[in-house]
């Protein structure tokens, strides 16, 4: 059984008199442990697809099985629970709370998890999460005291805190330079490999998509191509090959 399984997914927006068919009929299976890169031109429905996979939105029709359970018709509160427990989001714009330390930003999802109510427990877990992304030295920095790459790593740490089975990232390197992008991709690859977290990554750039194990290309609300990647790029190897600059 696949971790993610969508069948004939449709999403139609109605703006005034015009119907916008953001997703026409999308069917896809993603196995646990895959690193899926989603590409396609602007407006092809990538974000719409990811919002549905992330339980932020519900399809107009079609089914979505997450871990074997049909979640396409769940209530808002049930969806919130799934987002909190099973899914981690990483956004292009980081979306960290300003004037809030890295540690507190990472802690945030735990506040909405009734199983993690003890303050000391939350701190400890947030620390662990920051360590995973290599930012244990920056716990009390505010977002505006961190570089873009560091901010994105804080956001990744935040997405990891509830031990999700899926990480959804919508153009996470869109605001970053090449080297920082590779660093962030290294974090994703490590999490994917060592913790078995399934990663879905939206990107415009073919070379970023090649860090994944499989590429799915959208066009006009349908999947045009779906292929395994032959020569996968490995971020850690590329980083080691780069001329050493001052790190952190």
């Amino acid at each position: 059984m696949s971790l993610i399984s969508v069948r004939d997914l449709k999403k139609t927006y109605i703006v005034g008199d015009i119907e916008v068919r953001a997703l026409r009929h999308v069917s896809l299976d993603v196995e646990a442990g895959e690193f899926l890169a989603v590409t396609g031109p602007s407006g092809s429905g990538k974000s719409t697809f990811m919002h549905i996979l992330g339980c932020l939105d519900r399809p107009t029709s079609g089914q979505y099985f997450l871990d074997g359970k049909d979640v396409s018709r769940l209530s808002k509160n049930d969806l919130a629970r799934i987002r909190n427990h099973q899914i981690g989001f990483v956004f292009q714009g980081f979306n960290l709370l300003s004037r809030t330390t890295a540690l507190e930003n990472v802690e945030l999802p735990l506040l909405y998890n009734s199983a993690a109510s003890k303050g000391s427990d939350r701190k400890r877990r947030a620390m662990e999460s920051l360590k995973l992304v290599g930012l244990e030295q920056r716990t009390h920095h505010l977002p505006n005291q961190l570089s873009g790459g560091q901010q994105q790593r804080v956001a990744i740490a935040r997405s990891l805190i509830n031990n999700p089975s899926i990480l959804l990232a919508d153009e996470p390197t869109g605001n970053l330079d090449t080297k920082t992008s590779i660093e962030v991709m290294d974090v994703f690859q490590t999490l994917n490999k060592e913790r078995g977290i399934t990663v879905l990554l939206i990107t415009h750039e073919r070379d970023i998509a090649e860090y994944g194990t499989r590429i799915v290309a959208f066009r006009d609300g349908v999947i045009k191509t779906d292929e395994k990647i032959a020569n996968r790029r490995i971020a850690s190897v590329e980083l080691a090959a780069l001329p050493p600059v001052s790190v952190d």
Partner: protein, 406 residues
């Protein structure tokens, strides 16, 4: 999310915008402060009425010239000066009457002794006053029937007047003071009654024979009122009815016509004044309540701004698993924290203001625990009421759109 965490998040958010929070709170502070002060004034008036009744004794009957309870149609009725010392002579004969004093006041005279001066009114009265008021003297004696007959310029003073005019102390009996342009000899000093519990100075008094005030100071023959004490509290009603009957005959009031006087027991007076006091309290409190309402609208306004400003934050919280209810609570608690904090400071302000009014203006005030509780409850209610709409708006946001919000 625990309520404790919600409070911490709210405090943090409010702390980020200190100035804005403080200004929003100010609305609540002023509103609650005003309500507390107004209610304290009303309660103070009420307490002072009750105390007046208690200190005067239950078997006192007041007979006033004029009748302002007969309606405002006949102008001037309330000020008619038809009561004379002869009325008093007749009332002394009414069965059940024990003591009686005639009263006429002389207001607004400067009182001078040496280089000291003081301002208080002079109450013209009769020899039975210490008996009716149950008020002994600390030195000297009260004036005698002879003093009253001859309209002598003698007076008995309270300790406040004594201390103000003779700050060096010593025996003041036989000293001469000037009231207006008249020299008066002090013949006695009443013992101190101190402040009433609502802060009125009961020792700021000067008593002189009513005849002296009539003839030497005011140049009139009428008296303004009489204070009668009944022999016992039991038949006070009959006694006061009998007094009214005598006066009606003497003033030739036809059946069906309204009286040109009022005979009331202290309880009647208290009941009447309580009514007016209540009306006043409600009036003042509702005016103050309007400012509370304005404070509430201020909270709503600021919360709406805050929800808009923090749209992305709300979107993020929703995306990472906050339920609509969590977001609703977060903003509601913020509003309630503003209103409760503001309310608490307002209660403090109202208390301080009430104390100040009593201290500096001698207005009786009383801040009752009930008023404080009600004000606190009201503040919470306002926070919930005016915070609900913005909070509701925040919780109903669509996470995707909120995250996209610029």
């Amino acid at each position: 999310m625990t309520i404790f965490m919600t409070f911490r998040i709210a405090l943090k958010a409010l702390n980020r915008n200190k100035m804005r929070t403080a200004l929003t709170m100010l609305g609540m502070i002023i509103g609650v402060g005003a309500v507390i002060t107004m209610v304290a004034l009303g309660n103070g008036a009420q307490v002072s009425i009750e105390q007046a009744v208690q200190s005067a004794g239950t078997n006192v009957i007041m007979v006033n010239s004029g009748n302002f309870s007969s309606g405002g149609v006949r102008q001037g009725q309330g000020m008619s000066n038809t009561m004379t010392p002869d009325d008093a002579v007749a009332i002394r004969e009414v069965p059940g009457v024990q003591f009686l004093v005639e009263t006429i006041n002389n207001r607004g005279g400067q009182i001078v002794a040496g280089n000291q001066n003081w301002n208080t009114h002079v109450e013209g009265t009769n020899v039975d006053l210490p008996l009716i008021k149950n008020w002994p003297l600390e030195s000297g004696q009260f004036f005698t029937p002879t003093d009253v007959l001859s309209a002598s310029k003698v007076c008995v003073i309270g300790t406040t007047v004594k201390n103000m005019l003779f700050p060096d102390g010593g025996d003041v009996v036989e000293q001469i003071i000037r009231i207006g342009k008249h020299p008066f000899k002090i013949i006695g000093v009443l013992i101190s009654k101190g402040q009433s519990s609502v802060g009125q100075d009961q020792d700021d008094v000067i008593y002189a024979p009513f005849t002296t005030v009539q003839k030497k100071m005011r140049g009139v023959t009428y008296i303004e009122s009489m204070t009668v004490s009944a022999a016992s509290a039991d038949n006070i009603r009959q006694t006061s009815d009998a007094i009214a009957a005598v006066l009606r005959v003497r003033h030739k009031i036809q059946p069906g016509d309204s009286d040109d006087f009022m005979v009331r027991t202290l309880e009647d007076i208290a009941a009447m004044r309580t009514e007016t006091t209540k009306t006043m309290t409600y009036l003042l409190a509702s005016i103050a309540g309007v400012s509370l309402l304005v404070g509430g609208i201020g909270i709503m306004n600021i919360m709406l701004v805050s929800v808009t400003e923090r749209t992305r934050e709300i979107g993020l919280r929703l995306a990472i698993g906050a339920r609509g209810g969590d977001v609703l609570m977060q903003f509601l608690v913020e509003a309630v924290v503003i209103s409760l904090l503001g309310g608490s400071i307002g209660i403090g302000l109202g208390y301080g203001l009430s104390r100040g009014l009593t201290q500096f203006l001698q207005w009786p005030t009383y801040v009752s625990p009930q008023a404080v509780l009600v004000a606190f409850g009201f503040a919470a209610g306002i926070g919930i009421f005016f915070g609900f709409y913005p909070a509701r708006k925040a919780s109903a946001l669509d996470p995707i759109e909120a995250l996209r919000y610029e």
